[in-house]
Amino acid sequence: MSQDHNPQSRLSQRRHFLNLGLATITSGVLVNRNDQAEAGQTPAAPDDQSGAGVRPVQDSPRRGIDIEKWRKLKAEPYEFGAFGEMPGVCNLPGPLAKRNWPDRAKYEGAVKVPGMCQLCSTVCGMIGYVKDGRLLKVEGNPNDPNSRGYLCARGQASLNHLYHPERLLYPLKRVGERGEGKWKRISWDEALDEIAEKLKAVRDSGHPEEFAFHQGRQRSKDALKRFLDAFGTKTQLSHRSLCSGNRRAANLTGLWESDWDLNDVEHSKYILNFGSNVFEAHQGHVPFASRVQRGRFENGAKLVTFDVRMSNTAGGSDEWHSPFPGTDGAIALAMCNVIISRDLHDETFIKRWTNVSVDELRQHLKSYTPDWAERVSGVAADDIVRIATEFAAAAPAATTICNRGSSAHLNGFYNDRAIGMLNALVGSVGKKGGWCWSPWGGLDPVVKTPPMPPGAKTQSVLEDPPEYPLANVWRRMRVGEIVYLYLLQDRAKLQAYMTYNLDSPMTWPEESMTQQILSDEKKIQFHVCINSFYNETAHFADIVLPWTTFMERWDLDARASYNLRPYVGLRTPMVEPLGESRDVRDFFPDLARRIGDGMEQWYPEKDVKEYMEKWASAVPENPKTGKQGLERLMDEGVWEQEREPFYEPYNQILSDAEMQGAVTDGEGLISKDGIGIGILVDGSPLRGFKTPSRKFEIRSAFVSKIGRNEDCSDLIAASGMVKTKNRPDSHLPHNIKIEDMPIWIQPRELQDLPADELVMTSFKWNVHNHGRTMNLKWLAEIVHSNPAWLNPETAGRFDLKDGDWIEITSFYSRELEKVSPHLNRTDLPESSGRRVVSSMRVPVVLMEGIHPRVIAMSNSCGHTQYTSVAQARKEPLENSQLAGCDPETYQDADWQRNMWWQDDSGGDHTKWQRNRGNGWNQNRLMPISPDPVTGQQAFHDTVVRIRKID
């Protein structure tokens, strides 16, 4: 491509090009835009979302140049004619931005637009600074009552997300074999037509349940539910069981009306943390962490953390104890034992507001002594006694907190019930500074969506696996990790599969089986992937739809509020969607109309904004601004209801109106029309808890009966929670014993764990979520790799030193082989009589801050398809299509300067340098391992063996 400087050659070349121009005109291959105008076609506007833009270009309409404007631009101070910067064009944060910081002119004229982050589940309020249609910066929205203006590192990296050069911008259709990675661009019309045709065929087949929608993190619940109900499938699959199923089920067992404990840590004096890494992750991360610190530093609270690993939360606590994995419940029960046996309990609360007596508790807890707990957990009995005593003394301003550290185990349901019981024993349930909750899980129920379709009535074992009695009883938590296994077993099939913000090969256990099923066109006949980026799931799709980022779409959103008051937040497009990316709110109506057969009736609005206006219409007027509804939210970003925090709701006195027509039975239970509404306490009609006993249910007859498939209609009616259901008839052959009281059991593989075996655990860093942040260069620079953590004592036993490499081999659970035989795989190899999940080679780092029987790896790492940054590639892969080409590709100054961690070892571990590469996907090692009661994936119980690699 060298330039010929010979004048004759240049003249000849010029002739050739001019000839080309004339030939092009003569051939008429380009549509003249003026002809288009004459024919009534209008050039598509830049914000046209139809995807049906006018393609060919020639002869722009001859319009005048704004000469006066040009003269101003080229004069001082701009001196544009001298090729200075185009005035008013702003640099986004990027390479070398620090050299021109702060650029005060940058924000002149910028408009502040509210939004909500979605880089984790916490949905913190954001404000975007927008100028000339570009987002220059984000910061926390101080109006947000939950996040209060804070925004973590993930949120700050939103700009990386929005303007990422490897975003999906156009619909793509697979060209080669599924998983081969060959694509072509198609228009939205082509994509939606094909999808509609396939979905219509599913509907016409009489098996609408064979269309499954599989979501990762999603914050557009109404839009998804509307589409799926209108279609007629209930097969909406989620990741909840990989996340929080046990914790939610434990909370529901005691409370019924909420699956989410909202610990009032800001007003606490004592915070007892079982395995939550609240300073780095947690659902509710920033709002919760900031309140923990306020509780500590403004209210004098003590923070005690139990975690097998010294997380940044554990390290920032007043005390850290490292128990044996999965023994949180044993410690909690021993603390309960201390509290009861030493009469440190709240007698009044237990008697009035729990459904067990102190004597029953004494009897139940007597074997759970501190010495016993020390034997199973390794935590000193003296510490257990001391902490239990301190906790009780601080009550009612005392609360437990917990999360996956305690719940992502095969005994996690019981762990979390035992932890919850601690609060009941000291009477901190619902109290200021104590263990609270709210009946609204997210959005203030004041706002109502426009009319929704009736719920779909289909049944699928993928959505409601009969083996897991508590997965779908109160809420539809489902058992996400078994989906691909059940497809492998031909227990279900999918004619159509739509994935949404999902990266299951990365974030689901058993990576290889997930890939196997996703690539099998008999198991999954048609796969549409909706995502902002190409990832490990999109790689196995038939059509990929480019999804907007959370800075380009609409939602009303909120999390469970730590202020214990409901609120409504607004996610709004800060900028126009880039490329042809579209949100489901935008294209589901189009798709529904194409499918037809009545689906279209659920989309009467002319556009998304009209829908949002209807949805937000109940937001009241702000007397200061006169704005209400969506207009108010656009102004403020959020609205919080003015009401007292949701403390001690059980003590609310039922009004005369509520008592009108009510009857009270011999046990004081108040009901109306057969539905429980309250309880008579000391002669006063009180709301009570929304449980069958109207008390906090330490003992749950319900869960035991549900496990046995017994009719619980009377209990459900007494609770007043009419949405709770008996198990369907399809579950009848699947009886599971569920203890009515909090107990502690240990999976058999962890009992007397052999010396050469370790328990694998996972964790999240403060700059990442599980599968979607490693593409963000500001975050990847901070954490990009995940060597295995080992205690030096453990390393010594295996003759390992820091930086050595090991091979990890993981095994299926022996406990589940016995209690969940439907999971067994006979097609896999054995080692020493055990089924092997997989093996993986990783380097080790030696840390005192890890339990000696534990090996830990962070997740988020090991991507194979998800952007160059996520793969730590600033240079093309060997063996890629660029091999041998030595091309000049685009250069990112940030990468060149800062992506120092590219791994050039070529897979040879002897050449590997510390902290290089993009890490390893731990889920290659993790078996599908659902808690038999709820289906929660036991991410933290995997038994592994390791060996040193020379």
Partner: protein, 204 residues
């Protein structure tokens, strides 16, 4: 085919040249902006275009539309390791960067309307906007005040927004598996070099 040089008045020739030049920008814009479609593929295989292209070493594609679509996607869309034809990707490694805003401001200044939704600093849009500016500039002899300003603006635009693609064109030339896109990269490189020379070395 209309002769380029020969009989006729100079002013007509120059006008014809301006239109030809603008059309070359438009053709390149079209080829960079989206995949080849059936009418374009047919036109490229027929006279007069086939001869004009062959003189620039571009033979009509022998591949199917699907093969061409797949190649275009792999090269310029992705979803992995693509050579995105957008200026801010190459200069700032981000979409819709400063250069996109700058092109949008040029468009506003010159009354240019984007033919289809796209990012402003897509090479296809930049070439198309340049085509517009070439037409507005008109021939040197017949230029009025607006034409002079348009010439000045066109040069400023070229300097800012058509000076960047060399690495993209080199990468495309090296990576393309099908002759069409190798040739497209080569021709675009030659054309932009020729225009640069004409605008900044041999003309006012």
């Amino acid at each position: 085919m209309t002769p380029l040089f020969g009989s006729g008045k100079l002013i007509e020739l120059e006008t014809q040249n301006v239109e030809s030049l603008a059309t070359v920008y438009s053709l390149l814009a079209r080829l960079w902006f989206q995949e080849v479609d059936a009418p374009l593929l047919k036109g490229m295989a027929e006279e007069p275009l086939v001869s004009a292209l062959s003189k620039l070493n571009l033979s009509p594609p022998g591949e199917s539309l699907e093969q061409l679509d797949t190649e275009y996607c792999a090269l310029f869309i992705g979803p992995k390791n693509a050579l995105l034809p957008m200026q801010s990707v190459w200069q700032k490694t981000q979409l819709d960067g400063q250069s996109a805003s700058s092109v949008a401001k040029f468009a506003e200044l010159t009354g240019y309307v984007m033919p289809a939704p796209a990012l402003w600093d897509h090479l296809g849009i930049q070439l198309d906007l340049m085509s517009h500016l070439v037409l507005v500039s008109g021939s040197q002899e017949g230029r009025d005040e607006e034409g002079d300003v348009a010439w000045e603006v066109a040069n400023a635009f070229f300097e800012r927004h058509l000076n960047w693609p060399s690495p993209l064109l080199l990468g495309t030339s090296q990576r393309a598996r099908l002759p069409l896109y190798r040739s497209l990269a080569d021709i675009t490189q030659q054309f932009l070099e020729m225009e640069r020379t004409a605008r900044f070395e041999t003309s006012v």
